[in-house]
Symmetry: C2
Subunit: 316 residues, 2 copies
């Protein structure tokens, strides 16, 4: 049996664990980090963790280490070139090379959307598809592409910047500098903004801390106006996701979409709206028999995805 270390570096913590090639999570830890820390302050505890693991479990050989982070990682050099605003200290570093030099074990770094996609491809719902797109709905929208059974990374490794597909050239300005980006309609903050705007317009006072989860919960359970508005927001979010999926289908003739990320547990509620609107945006022949589903991996998806990505790259 092969074993992989998965390292998922986010804004406030590093999740780290060991995953087998059968997708079993053997061990897991969370290292809290200060998002403003220096690079060394984050990497040193990761190195320590790996060193301790290798020492204590010397009989269990590790085939490769996978590291998932935000941002654009140049696939040629391994350097994170930009886009890691939540964990700024990662920028300009080749973290995989550093860990590989330190451990002597092959190490790979990829964008967290790519890692999530690798996780679904190896251990989740993607196992039965050769051509699919995964999207991760959270604070932003990320994702990854599987084409001909393999992760497609693009010429520099930056592919699948799905959250910034333009859905409306006259839409809201995005903080990327473009207008009408997908993220402006279906990310967590966009869903919350749509909902709170609707409350404000109806003169309904907002007492609670509104989150996307709160909205999805209300849509399920609330029979009154707040539930109606929540269901309307979900309907509109599904419409926009359908538009993005339609465009992706027209370009790539996919078999399936997998929806993951922070929203995905509540995401089942989005599926009817997405499916109902899909054919408004796709050439009929390309919309047939397309499966749309919620991700298989939920908890630990970050560690599992990073490990799966290492597994995938080791085999290529």
């Amino acid at each position: 049996m092969d074993n992989f270390i998965g390292v998922d570096i986010g804004g406030t913590s590093v999740k780290i664990g060991v995953v087998t090639s059968e997708g079993k999570l053997l061990k897991k830890d969370i290292i809290e980090i200060n998002p403003k820390a220096e690079y060394e302050e984050i990497i040193t505890p990761v190195k320590d963790w790996i060193q301790l693991f290798l020492k204590n479990e010397f009989k269990r050989s590790i085939n490769a280490i996978g590291i998932g982070t935000p941002g654009f990682i140049d696939k040629r050099t391994g350097v994170l070139v930009s886009g890691s605003e939540n964990v700024p200290m990662l920028k300009k570093h080749a973290t995989a090379k550093l860990l590989e030099d330190f451990t002597g074990i092959p190490a790979y770094q990829d964008n967290d959307g790519t890692c999530a996609t690798a996780g679904e491809l190896m251990f989740g719902k993607g196992q039965k598809y050769k051509d699919f797109v995964m999207i991760t709905l959270g604070t932003g929208i990320g994702g990854g592409l599987v084409l001909n059974g393999k992760i497609y990374r693009g010429s520099k490794g930056f592919a699948a910047e799905i959250g910034h597909m333009c859905l409306d050239p006259n839409g809201s300005w995005c903080n990327c500098g473009s207008r009408g980006c997908f993220e402006q309609y279906a990310s967590g903050p966009a869903i919350v903004k749509n909902y709170t705007n609707k409350l404000i317009k109806r003169g309904i006072e907002i007492n609670e801390n509104i989150t996307a989860k709160y909205i999805f919960d209300n849509a399920y359970t609330n029979k009154k106006i707040l539930g109606e508005i929540a269901r309307e927001v979900i309907e509109e979010t599904g419409l926009k996701i359908a538009q993005a999926f339609g465009t992706l289908l027209n370009i790539l003739n996919l078999e399936a979409f997998i929806i993951g990320g922070g929203i995905s547990k509540s995401g089942e509620l989005l599926l009817p709206s997405i499916k109902r609107h899909l054919f408004d945006f796709v050439w009929p022949e390309l919309g047939k028999d397309v499966a749309i589903m919620i991700a298989g991996l939920q908890n630990d998806a970050g560690i599992m995805g990073a490990a799966a990505m290492a597994y995938e790259r080791l085999r290529v």
Copy 2:
């Protein structure tokens, strides 16, 4: 040296010829067809042409036959399932299998946009790129995808339905049943419609038969109002192409775009507008160093592309 027969079946004629693996067109003929003819009436002269060629030039062996047509060809069965409204008799036929059985030579059929892309990949401007998209601007908008150096066809063979990417969910209705398709903004008829609308709104009488070529010619040479309007139309067309390219870049992290099709000879005029607007629609990291150019193959692109596609599929 290897030789390939290229067959380009369009609405009013079949173009057929022999192309070497170095991209030399050895022989070429045009067979006029009646678009309302039965299937046999179109295929019999093609079979006759091939039979005569093989008899007369028996020393010149043919490695494969490539057939380019409109429509969706199921890559598993080789059957054209839909989308060939201009040459309706092709529907439900597996033309490659028929020619393969007749000649004993491997034969392949693909969408004409895919063939055009194969032509550029093997013999044209695509030779130096591993990840690019070709678009063909004509009566409609088609194209093809080259990813990791190979043509990407999608799960059923229907990929690259680029003309029906939604650029504006509130845009003009397209005859595909969706709104705001790319084709509604940058195909030949869309360019003509935009131009004539502008003339009508300004009370300018239209005496000539307006074509996209006429508009491009005027933009070059006419210093007066018609030239100004023509340049405005080209500017607006370039903006929409930039939006489509931005979305494709965000998804696929490409190196280049190649513009072919009927419009492409005049297309140089579009490039400044496309390049100027590209960064309005793409994440900066993915817009860097992207080449945008007019196709290398012009005359005989149909035959060359069909032959190149056969060459490409024989090698896979």
